[in-house]
């Protein structure tokens, strides 16, 4: 397809290709995505990648065969094998699929210890990958008869390995690695007959490819092209945009090249005219068709390797596709993948994983381009109180953005070139922020490294669960050691088989004002698996334990028996050792690295290695996973429990007065992999020395590589209960490193900001400043501010996600009822499914249910509805504060919630519009000095008694007005700065932004004070 890029598209194309001679030049590139296609009756693997020069490559890998294994029946002869092949090929399912050949190989099953024996397995090689599934089904089910031997209900081996992954495993190729096609082994497809939009197309046999391990120059990332996209749609009032009806009015695209700071393309396509934007290319179109097709051209010419954005997988991309269908231009529009002949494919899908829960999403296949939706990535990797782009950006980048409610987008679109420019600036920002997030959170580095470490293509990391990563490593290791992995029949959801988890020693609540040493087991679960050689391949079936000499086996506290390393080393311990050794190397490299890119790579790698090592244990325990083995996981936790208890016992036995120490030590708490010891010494240095000594002494008693480490001292240390503590962390005796907390109300989303703020500040005052009295004072002041209605409403907002239509909820929940109420008021701005509903608790009639008291914060603010401060005190603050202060103040902690500071309150008067009795009530003028009702028609705003203080009261009012006015001015400027224009009204109604609430509140307070001021007669 010939595309005229025009003046506006000058910066789109990739760097030009240099002269290339396949006979002389090797082709080296970083592969990013691997998939396959069937050409006729043969599968061809397609590897997409980028060269060092930034040219895009697609390599077609030929002649790699798909296969799987079954165990050979006893005495199965070559003749039987031929008969089996014939029988399979004659089976009704075999139409179009056939078994190419069957080979006999000596292999071993990974499942349970095989006493070192290899047995005959049949490798069934088939013509195309889909045939694996077909024939697997036959052999696992009804079966075939070969030479009178019935083969049915068999276990198949290595039969659920995806073809592309199979290819990578068999070639020893990790994910996102550099590969080389040596000169002379490949041929180039002439440019005229390219199937793809890639600059280079090569054909190669699978066994000619050289893999470069990710080291030195091959550890770097190729200059990938990353496109960040955001679209705007013209919705109808009150409705979420529907691609059947509402047009796409703007598309913003940002293209960056990995390793460069500035975007090479900043482009916004608009429907109808749009005023110019400095630094960006604006292209305007009169029809939506032209707009969409121009964007397709951009995709084809710029040829990005990775497509990012915020919520693109569930909104932007599906919307574009469906819009194309509605406009009936899908035949032209849906070709912006890398395969020229292949449309973008979209289907509904569901992603279920134990670690991430279930998500429904649209699965979109864009050949050769990786999609990285930052919303999904951040939801997976970070626990945040809100996942709107706005608050995520504020959290990670410290940048806010204007939040234009989708109900006013249409108004802006229908305005003039200036209003559309405004929208375009907003749209560009939405494309820019995901790009910044990728950079800031180093997503490219981390995902590339994760792909390399776990050996799966990058795209698997986002679309598949945790288990494929461990599974890929097991498959690789098994292959290298001649093992085969069985395809276990799904156990289904068997929640009943829970085993005992980690142990938690009882927490001795208190505020410890002397150093508390923490002894940690380094990588506890991986090291247990290594120390005790726990693996599928070392698990001895219970009935065969007697066949082995007792010295060669070890029976765990949970009663399962595994052979020792001396007899046979397990695969999992092998994998873990490599991971941990690699992590050590990566950390060492990280230390000496000076180049920021190398640093990023090494840091990403060591993180990926750590996560991978830790997920092996989880993989064995995942009952719905690929290869669950509860014998392993329950053994791991059993050893873990034993070790914690042993540590506790040894510490208390050794460090006491009878051994000549100052004090008896005390184990105050222990959880999973750590034990907290109070040596009762005053000096941090002394506690550290004792900790080190104890760690070394106890480590000796455990098998290698289990190691008890002394890492840190907490001083002071506030232990509230199990899994809840806070302390100042010291790793050297001279200076504390930071404050460390666990289980403290800081991330839970159903907490309001107030709780987080109060708890954090208190901890800082107590631990860092050692100022308990100050903390108490602070709490009292905050409570008093709450009761006096002086707090920002944003501190009181709680939010909950609306996961389904409000009408379909069975239970009455606050956010659901509120969503219904808001829909009645104004369907345009009411939250819909998937939105988070923000609410505050307002006062309601006595005995009203909690769900009746929720109100939209903005409605509450504009109608001046009184906040139910008692609810916040009782349900939000009371518990965390009592927990925090009980260890310090004992019973006096209750004082905090009931003292004299709670006796000044302010009750706001709802506006008449909020209904009820307010439609009828009249305000009586009261004295501005002492609040006594005034005589009717009194001219002075003061009562006789306060009259002498007139000047004082007036000046204090004036001061208040001035104060609020300047405050409001500052907030308004802030919002103008955020929207990027000082000349226009601020439109933003972001419910996530604290400034927004503050601005509204100050505005209202100002209005009230001005009314009061106006009561003084003019002079």
């Amino acid at each position: 397809m010939e595309v005229d890029v025009g003046e506006a598209g000058r910066s789109w194309p990739r760097p030009p290709l240099r002269e290339f001679d396949p006979a002389r030049d090797p082709l080296v590139f970083q592969q990013l995505e691997v998939d396959y296609t069937n050409e006729g009756r043969k599968a061809v693997v397609r590897m997409y990648g980028v060269t060092e020069e930034g040219n895009s490559v697609c390599t077609f890998v030929h002649d790699f065969e798909a296969y799987f294994y079954i165990k050979a029946p006893m005495g199965f002869s070559q003749d039987d094998i031929d008969a089996l092949q014939a029988a399979l090929n004659a089976h009704p399912v075999a139409a179009g699929f056939n078994v190419v050949r069957i080979e006999q190989e000596m292999k071993s099953n990974v499942w349970t210890y095989q006493f070192g024996q290899l047995s005959p397995f049949l490798k069934i090689v088939v013509n195309i990958p889909q045939a694996v599934t077909k024939f697997r089904g036959v052999l696992e089910g009804g079966g075939v008869v070969a030479n009178g031997i019935v083969l049915e209900n068999l276990t198949t081996y290595e039969s659920s390995v995806l073809y592309a992954l199979r290819f990578m495993i068999d070639s020893g190729m990790p994910g996102a690695s550099w590969v080389e096609l040596p000169a002379g082994t490949y041929s180039l497809v002439p440019e005229g007959s390219h199937q793809t939009t890639c600059q280079l197309e090569a054909k190669v046999r699978y066994d000619s490819i050289i893999n470069h391990p990710p080291e030195g120059r091959y550890s770097m990332l190729a200059p990938l092209r990353i496109l960040s996209v955001d679209i705007e749609c013209a919705g109808r009032k009150g409705q979420f945009p529907d691609p059947k009806l509402d047009s796409v009015i703007q598309i913003a695209s940002y293209i960056t090249v990995q390793g460069q700071n500035d975007a090479i393309v900043k482009n916004v396509l608009t429907l109808n005219s749009c005023a110019p934007i400095v630094g960006a290319v604006v292209e305007s179109f009169s029809t939506e068709r032209e707009l969409l097709l121009r964007w397709r051209d951009l995709m084809l010419i710029a040829d990005p390797d990775v497509i990012i954005g915020y919520n693109i997988c569930n909104f932007d991309l599906p919307y574009l596709l469906e819009r194309g269908r509605t406009l009936r231009i899908d035949r032209e529009f849906e070709y912006w993948g890398r395969q020229k002949q292949s449309r973008i494919r979209m289907r509904d899908s569901k992603f279920s994983s134990k670690a991430y829960g279930t998500h429904e999403y649209k699965e979109i296949t864009i050949d050769g381009r990786i999609q990285l939706d930052m919303l999904l990535a951040i939801q997976r990797d970070h626990k945040l109180s809100s996942y709107s782009l706005n608050s995520v950006s504020a959290h990670f980048l410290g940048e806010q953005k204007e939040d234009v409610h989708h109900s006013i987008i249409t108004d802006l679109q229908n305005g003039n070139a200036e209003t559309r420019r405004r929208l375009a600036v907003y749209c560009l920002k939405d494309a820019y922020l995901p790009q910044r997030l990728v950079d800031k959170l180093m997503y490219m580095y981390n995902y590339v490294e994760m792909a390399r470490v776990t050996g799966v293509p990058m795209s698997y990391l986002l679309t598949r669960g945790q288990s494929i990563k461990v599974f890929s490593q097991i498959l690789r290791k098994a292959r290298s050691r001649n093992f085969l992995v069985p395809n276990l029949k799904k156990m289904g959801q068997t929640d009943g088989v829970a085993y005992e988890g980690a142990t938690v020693l009882e927490a001795k609540q208190g505020f410890y004002e002397n150093p508390v040493a923490t002894l940690d087991f380094a990588s506890l679960y991986p090291s247990i698996m290594m120390a005790h050689n726990l693996c599928y391949t070392t698990l001895v079936p219970k009935h065969r334990v007697n066949e082995l000499p007792p010295g060669d086996v070890e029976t765990s506290p949970s009663g399962d028996t595994f052979v020792r390393t001396s007899r046979q080393k397990g695969l999992l311990p092998d994998i873990l050792e490599e991971l941990l050794a690699a992590r050590k190397r990566a950390k060492a490299d990280l230390k000496i690295a000076t180049d920021p890119f190398v640093k990023a790579v090494m840091n990403g790698r060591q993180l990926a290695l750590k996560v991978s090592a830790n997920s092996v244990y989880g993989f064995t325990g995942a009952t719905v996973g690929k290869l669950p083995c509860l014998e392993i996981s329950s053994t791991v936790t059993a050893y873990g429990r034993q070790m914690i208890l042993q540590t506790q016992e040894m510490v208390t036995k050794k460090y006491n007065r009878s051994n000549g120490l100052e004090q008896d030590c005390d184990v105050i708490y222990g959880d999973t992999d750590s034990v907290m010891v109070n040596f009762k010494v005053k000096d941090v240095k002394r506690a550290m020395d004792l900790g080190k000594e104890a760690a070394e002494y106890i480590s000796q008693t455990f098998p290698k590589p289990v190691k008890l480490e002394f890492e840190k001292v907490y001083y002071p240390y506030l232990l509230m209960s199990k899994k809840r503590y806070a302390g100042l962390l010291w790793t050297n005796p001279n200076e504390a490193d930071k404050m460390d907390t666990k289980g403290i109300e800081s991330v839970r989303r159903d907490n309001c900001l107030l709780v987080r703020q109060v708890v954090t500040t208190c901890l800082e005052m107590i631990l860092m400043q050692r100022n308990v009295a100050g903390a108490v004072e602070y709490v009292k002041n905050t409570i008093s501010d709450l009761l006096m209605n002086r707090l920002d409403l944003s501190l009181l907002v709680v939010s909950k996600g609306l996961t389904q239509n409000a009408e379909t909820y069975e239970n009455k929940a606050a956010h659901v009822e509120l969503a219904k109420k808001m829909r009645k008021r104004d369907p345009a701005t009411a939250p819909g499914v998937g939105d988070r509903v923000a609410y505050v608790i307002i006062k309601a009639a006595k005995g009203a249910r909690a769900y009746e008291k929720a109100e939209d914060p903005i409605y509450a603010l504009t109608n001046n509805l009184p906040i139910d401060y008692q609810h916040y005190l009782d349900h939000h603050l009371a518990q965390p504060l009592t927990r925090l202060f009980e260890p310090i103040l004992g019973n006096n902690a209750k004082e905090l919630l009931q003292g004299s500071h709670t006796r000044s309150i302010s009750v706001s008067t709802p506006s008449a519009a909020s209904g009820g009795i307010m439609r009828f009530a009249k305000k009586t003028a009261t004295c501005l000095g002492c609040k006594t009702p005034l005589v009717k028609d009194s001219v002075s705003p003061l009562c006789g008694h306060c009259q002498p203080r007139e000047a004082q009261i007036l000046t204090s009012l004036l001061a208040q007005v001035n104060d609020l006015e300047s405050h409001f001015g500052r907030l308004w400027t802030q919002c103008q700065a955020c929207q990027g224009s000082l000349h226009q009204d601020v439109l933003c109604t972001s419910r996530d932004c604290p400034i927004f609430y503050r601005r509204k509140k100050v505005q209202k307070d100002l209005g009230e004070v001005k009314v009061q001021l106006a009561r003084f007669p003019d002079w």
């Binding site: 006096m788 209605n789 109420k821 009645k824 006062k843 309601a844 009639a845 006595k846 009203a848 249910r849 009746e852 009184p866 139910d868 004299s900 006796r903 000044s904 309150i905 302010s906 009750v907 706001s908 008067t909 709802p910 909020s914 209904g915 009820g916 009795i917 307010m918 439609r919 009828f920 009530a921 009249k922 305000k923 009586t924 003028a925 009261t926 002492c930 609040k931 006594t932 009702p933 009562c943 006789g944 008694h945």
Partner: protein
């Protein structure tokens, strides 16, 4: 200085009965004329206005008008110290932020003094302007109390309609429907037992029943109560305490599809 002595200390207890379920904290306005209170309930659907004239007290002294804030839950707790026949004296110093309550038995053999911290409540002073009503019904307090109690076990809302013959309370619920009509009746010997209807225009209004139940807690204050209704106005339920003062409750009528919070 504020000081007020009441022979029937018990009266304050009775008043609190009617107030404390509606309002948790409120400002009492002390003035040379008497003690008054105007407060809205926390759901801002009802408003209560209390008036106790200075003359009603045995001794009454108020040097300057003043507003004092009290937590009514705490006040009720304090009042438990008083015996039913005790006299009660309230004392508040203008410069102090507390109030002293003194309870003395009639026989003068028991003397209790309680000091309570005051609150500083910053709120608007609200009132319902005096109106002329389309219909005013007077009826025995106990009868009204019984009617709302009976109806509240059937439904959530009550429709009150007044015609020249009498007043009808109706409700409906899952159980069924109920109508209770009280006809004009002046045949009783005591005037307090009479039911009288003073009608300008017939009127029908609907209210949340649970507020009526709360209002009826003031039954012990007076034998007879009155209900004043007008279209487009809140209902006024009044318990007059002879010359001493009154307590009035105002309740906004229900409008369909509004205030769904009152549905429960």
């Amino acid at each position: 200085m504020f000081e007020a002595k009441l022979i029937q200390g018990n009266l304050i207890k009775k008043i609190m009965e009617g107030l404390k379920d509606l309002v948790t904290e409120a400002n009492f306005d002390l003035s040379p004329g008497g003690v008054s209170l105007q407060a809205m309930d926390s759901s801002h659907v009802a408003l209560v206005a209390l008036m106790l004239r200075g003359d009603a007290f045995e001794n009454y002294r108020c040097d300057r008008p003043r507003s004092i804030g009290m937590n009514l839950v705490n006040l009720s707790k304090v009042l438990k110290c008083a015996g039913n026949d005790d006299t009660m004296t309230l004392k508040a110093d203008d410069t102090q932020n507390n109030i002293t309550l003194v309870f003395e038995s009639q026989a003068e053999d028991k003397y209790a003094e309680v000091q309570m911290e005051l609150m500083d409540i910053d709120s608007e002073h609200l009132g319902i302007p005096d109106n002329t009503y389309d219909a005013i019904v007077k009826m025995p307090s106990a009868q009204f109390s019984q009617i709302v109690k009976d109806l509240s076990s059937i439904g959530d809302t009550v429709t009150v309609s007044v015609t020249k013959d009498g007043i009808t309370f109706s409700t409906s619920g899952d159980v069924g429907t109920a109508h209770i009509t009280c006809k004009q009746n002046t045949s009783m010997e005591k005037e307090a037992d009479h039911t009288t209807v003073n009608l300008e225009h017939p009127v029908t209004l609907t209210f949340a029943l649970r507020y009526f139940v709360t209002f009826a807690k003031s039954t012990s204050l007076s034998h007879q109560m009155s209900i004043s209704l007008s279209k487009e106005l809140p209902v006024m339920v009044e318990y007059a305490m002879g010359d001493m003062g009154h307590i009035r409750f105002y309740l906004a009528p229900k409008i369909d599809d509004e205030e769904s919070m009152d549905d429960s």
